[in-house]
Symmetry: C2
Subunit: 149 residues, 2 copies
Amino acid sequence: MKKLPDSAYNPILKLDNQLCFSVYALSRLITKAYQPLLESLDVTYPQYLVLLLLWEHKELTVKQLGENLLLDSGTLTPLLKRMEQHQWLSRRRDARDERSVLVALAPAGRALQAQAAQIPMQLAEKMQLTEPEIAGLRTQLRQIMTLLS
Amino acid sequence: MKKLPDSAYNPILKLDNQLCFSVYALSRLITKAYQPLLESLDVTYPQYLVLLLLWEHKELTVKQLGENLLLDSGTLTPLLKRMEQHQWLSRRRDARDERSVLVALAPAGRALQAQAAQIPMQLAEKMQLTEPEIAGLRTQLRQIMTLLS
DNA sequence: AATAATTTAATTGTGCACAATTAAAACTTA
DNA sequence: TAAGTTTTAATTGTGCACAATTAAATTATT
């Protein structure tokens, strides 16, 4: 009797069957879908996420940015330095707690907000999802995130 | 009348409301959830994905790996070189088409399969999802992927 | 067959992402 | 207050991820 490949016995080991791979691949596809929209602003997707937070809060510490984005200073420090060079934001030590660094939106960063206003809608169109579908999916993903962290 | 922040007018610009951020953040959380399970095999998550394919197909070209993983040679070539150094796989030009590089599972790579057999189940436990929930979610994500590519 | 166009990997350069370490500041506690 | 602990960023080093370019091999077209 001929032996089947292990993957025939273990369909769970097949790439196609893995939810995790779908999340990983979709995440990269989404970043690529953003890219042409972000290109005219000259920002990357992670930089855009920082801007979303600063547009909302104006000033945050590196720690607060990291808590929101689930990123540490090893990622954020060089990213924020690049954004500072573009004068989209400023970085300075908090006088009340010299351990912290305050990241504040600069005028050039504020100016990008109007240009970015249409981006979420354009992405939603690309994904062809209705608002309730988006909300439902987001809730499911958030729940998994809670369980994993 | 006091002006509200733009994010109050534009809730769609709020990070918390964005499905795309959830996918991005979940993808990184998943990679971190795999990490302790992959550590004893000394493989990274992308390397594990390559192994999944080679366990199933034994030999694939760089192009075929890229089609399955949605990665190009710029990512795969150095990654495969590192895996070759561990002797998990071999790389050689295809004699019938010298443009292609054949990537074949090596004995040390095959040996990792048994050690990895429990990993998908352990992940599923961490995520606390039932098989139908996983299948449903995967289908939804695949559909978005189709629309984005 | 000669030329042109396409395909396939590799290379180069930039920017995350993250583990581990370091250093300074702030806080806790003896 | 002095010593020890914790918190916060920065730094260092490794490994993706990807755009753009290069080079070789193949295929298509004249």
